[in-house]
C-alpha cells in the first residue's frame, strides 16, 4: 500500500496534483490516500520531501533472468497465408533484435504451410520454428498455446510478440499465464531501455483517452500483443538466409478440450478496410443509415473503402467490420476522409497515422479538426455530393 510519512510530509499538494486517479488529498496539511489508489507510483517520484513510499516487497526476481535472450514473434497463419501483422511484428522484432544484438525467431503454426516460412525469413526472421500438422488447421487456444509455450520454455527468448488479433488476443494470455510472466495487450509502441534491456510497452487505455507505458521487470519472457497496422513491416529481401526448424510437439500437447467444428467466412467480415489506400468514413453526423449510401458513393468516386465511427456502428447504420478506432480496426491509409465524425479519441487512435486526413463537420470546434490535414466546416449533405461531382469530373 501507499505509505505517507506524516512527519516528513509538508502538505505541498504536489502529489494530489500528480495523482491521475484522484486518490490523494491534502487534509489538514498532510497528504491522505483513499481507496482509489492503484499504486501506480507517480506520486512517489513527485514527492520532493520523500514522504511517500509504496510498501510491499518487490516481486521476487526470476532466478534465470539473464539466460533469456532473443526476440521471438508468433506468425499468424490462416486460410493459406501469413497474416499481414506477422510481417509488422518482424519489422519491430528486427529493430529490437538488432539493438540487443540477438537473433529474431518466428513461430509458425498451421496446416499446409507451404513456403510461408521462407517469406518470414525474407522479411527478417533468422530462425523459424514451424509445426505443419493437420491438427492445426483450425485454431484452438489449447494446442496453439501448448506449442508456443513449449517452444518458449526451450528457447528462452527475452521478448515474445504476437498480433493483437482475435487469435492473438485469445491464446497469448493463456501462454503468459502458463509461463507466469507479464503480458501487455494491444501495444502501439515498443522500445527496449538500453541500460537494462527492459521492454517499455506503450498502449492506449480508457478507450484511447490515456496512454500507459508498462514494463515487466522481474520475469521473462516479456510478452506483448501488438496492434495490427501500427508497426512498419520489415523490407522484403529475397536473398535473406535463415534457418527453418521443424518442431515436433509431444502428442499429449496436441490435444484440445475445445473442438472447432467448422470455420465460416462471412461476407460482411471480408470488408477489409485495413488494406486499401483510401477510406471514406461516416459518423453520427450522418444522422441516419441512409448517410452511408452517400459514403459509398464518395468511396466509389475516389476508389476507397467505407469506414465508420463507433457511434455509427452502435446505431446499427453499418456493421461492425467497418468500425475504425480503439474498439474497431486501426487503419493507416494514404487518405482518410472523415464525414460527420466528431473525433472522439477512441476513433482518432484508430486513424491518426493516415497520411492525409480530411475532416468534414458542421461543428468548427469538433476535435476531429485537431488531427485533420484539411478541414471543411459545413453540412456534409451539401458538401459531399458536390465533392463527388467534382471528383468524377476530374477523373473523367
Amino acid at each position: 500500500m501507499l505509505r505517507i510519512d506524516i512527519e516528513t510530509c509538508i502538505g505541498c499538494g504536489v502529489c494530489e496534483e500528480v495523482c491521475t486517479f484522484g486518490a490523494i488529498e491534502v487534509v489538514d496539511g498532510v497528504a491522505v490516500v483513499n481507496e482509489k489508489c492503484t499504486l501506480c507510483g507517480s506520486c512517489v517520484d513527485s514527492c520532493e520531501a520523500g514522504a511517500l513510499s509504496i510498501e510491499g516487497k518487490d516481486k521476487a526476481v526470476q532466478a534465470d533472468l539473464a539466460e533469456w535472450s532473443g526476440i521471438m514473434i508468433y506468425a499468424e497463419y490462416r486460410h493459406g497465408k501469413v497474416a499481414p501483422v506477422s510481417f509488422e511484428l518482424l519489422g519491430i522484432g528486427r529493430e529490437l533484435a538488432d539493438q540487443q544484438k540477438v537473433p529474431l525467431s518466428a513461430v509458425l503454426l498451421g496446416a499446409g504451410l507451404g513456403d510461408a516460412a521462407k517469406d518470414l525469413i525474407f522479411y527478417g526472421a533468422d530462425i523459424v520454428y514451424q509445426v505443419d500438422d493437420p491438427v492445426l488447421e483450425y485454431f484452438t487456444d489449447e494446442i496453439y498455446g501448448n506449442i508456443l509455450e513449449d517452444i518458449i520454455r526451450e528457447q528462452k527468448p527475452e521478448v515474445v510478440l504476437a498480433g493483437a488479433t482475435a487469435i492473438g488476443r485469445s491464446f497469448i494470455p493463456l501462454v503468459a499465464t502458463s509461463l507466469a510472466t507479464g503480458l501487455t495487450a494491444d501495444c502501439t509502441q515498443l522500445v527496449i531501455r538500453p541500460e537494462d534491456g527492459v521492454l517499455l510497452q506503450t498502449r492506449p487505455a480508457f478507450g484511447g483517452n490515456i496512454m500507459a507505458t508498462i514494463e515487466c521487470p522481474h520475469t521473462r519472457p516479456q510478452m506483448a500483443t501488438v496492434r495490427p497496422r501500427v508497426m512498419k513491416p520489415a523490407p522484403h529481401d529475397p536473398g535473406r538466409k535463415g534457418e527453418l526448424i521443424d518442431y515436433r510437439p509431444k502428442a499429449e500437447r496436441m490435444q484440445s478440450r475445445v473442438k472447432v467444428l467448422r470455420n465460416v467466412l462471412e461476407e460482411q467480415d471480408q470488408v477489409n478496410i485495413t488494406e486499401g489506400d483510401i477510406i471514406v468514413a461516416g459518423g453520427r453526423g450522418l444522422d441516419d443509415k441512409k448517410g452511408f449510401e452517400l459514403m459509398r458513393q464518395l468511396a466509389e468516386a475516389v476508389g476507397g473503402a467505407v469506414g465508420a465511427s463507433r457511434a455509427a456502428v452502435d446505431a446499427e447504420w453499418i456493421p461492425y467490420p467497418h468500425q475504425v478506432g480503439q474498439t474497431g480496426k486501426t487503419v493507416n491509409p494514404k487518405l482518410y476522409i472523415a464525414c460527420g465524425i466528431s473525433g472522439a479519441i477512441q476513433h482518432v487512435v484508430g486513424m491518426q497515422s493516415s497520411e492525409t486526413i480530411v475532416a468534414i463537420n458542421k461543428d468548427p470546434h469538433a476535435p476531429i479538426f485537431d488531427v485533420a490535414t484539411y478541414g471543411v466546416v459545413g453540412d456534409l449533405y451539401e458538401i459531399v455530393p458536390k465533392l463527388i461531382e467534382k471528383i468524377k469530373e476530374k477523373r473523367g
Partner: protein, 259 residues
Amino acid sequence: MKIIVCVKQVPDAKDVRLDPKTNTMAREGVQSIMNPFDRHAVEEGVRLKEQHGGTVTVISMGPPQAEAVLREAVACGADEAVLVSDRAFAGADTWATTYTLGKAIENTGVFDLILCGKQAIDGDTAQVGPGLARRLNIPYVSYVRKITGYANGVIRLHRLMDDGYDEVEIPLPGLLTVVKEINEPRIPSLKGKMKAKGLSIRTLNAADIEADVDSIGLPGSTTQVVKVFAPEFKGERAMLEGTVDEQVAQLVKKLEPYL
C-alpha cells in the same frame, strides 16, 4: 447449471480524459458503471439459467463500492453475489487478478460455467478471461457471440474471428468470454431491484481465499505501469475557407495526388 459471472466496476471510459498540461485525469462527472461487456455476460448467464435451470452467482474483485455492480447484476436476474475485496489486492495486473479470482472461485465451490465480458473498457486487455481459465485449468472460448446449444455437458457456440466465425464445442466446466452481439441485456425488473436491495453480499478478503501474499496486488503483479500520459496528435488543421463550391474546389485540388 451452476454459473459464475465475473463483473467489474469501471469508470465510464468515454468520459475519462487526461489533462496534457498537468497529466491529471479529469474526473468531474466520470461515473462508475458495470463494464458494458459484463452486462452481456450476466444476461447470457441468466438466460442459460432460465432455459436449463440452476443458479447464477456474480463475482467481482474491487473496492467496497464495487458492490453496486453486483447489486445491479442481481437486479437483472443473478441469484447470489460475492465481492472479493481487500486493500492488499490494489494495484493488481491481470496476472495477479486471475490468481485472486481463481482462488476466490475455488473458495465459492463447484461450478459448471464461468462467463466474462470479452474485456473491460478501462484496461481493454481481454486477458482476465483466458488467464482465469488457465488458473482453474478449464477450457475456454473467447469472443463468443452466440450460444447455439447445450446438451450432455457440452456447449455449442459461435466464436467471432477476424474474418467470420468458428462453430465450436466446449465441454463443461469451462469459461466463455462474450461480445456484445450475443444478446440484448434486460432492464432490471422491480422484483429484481427489491431483491438486490435486500441482498447480503458475501465478501471475501485475502485471508478468506487463502491467497499467497506474494501473488496478489501490486507486489504480486508481473507488470508495472511506468508512466501514464495523454495521447498527442499531429494535425495540420488547415481549415478551408470560402463558399461551399470554393471549398470543394480547393479540396479536390489538394486531393489530386490521391485521385
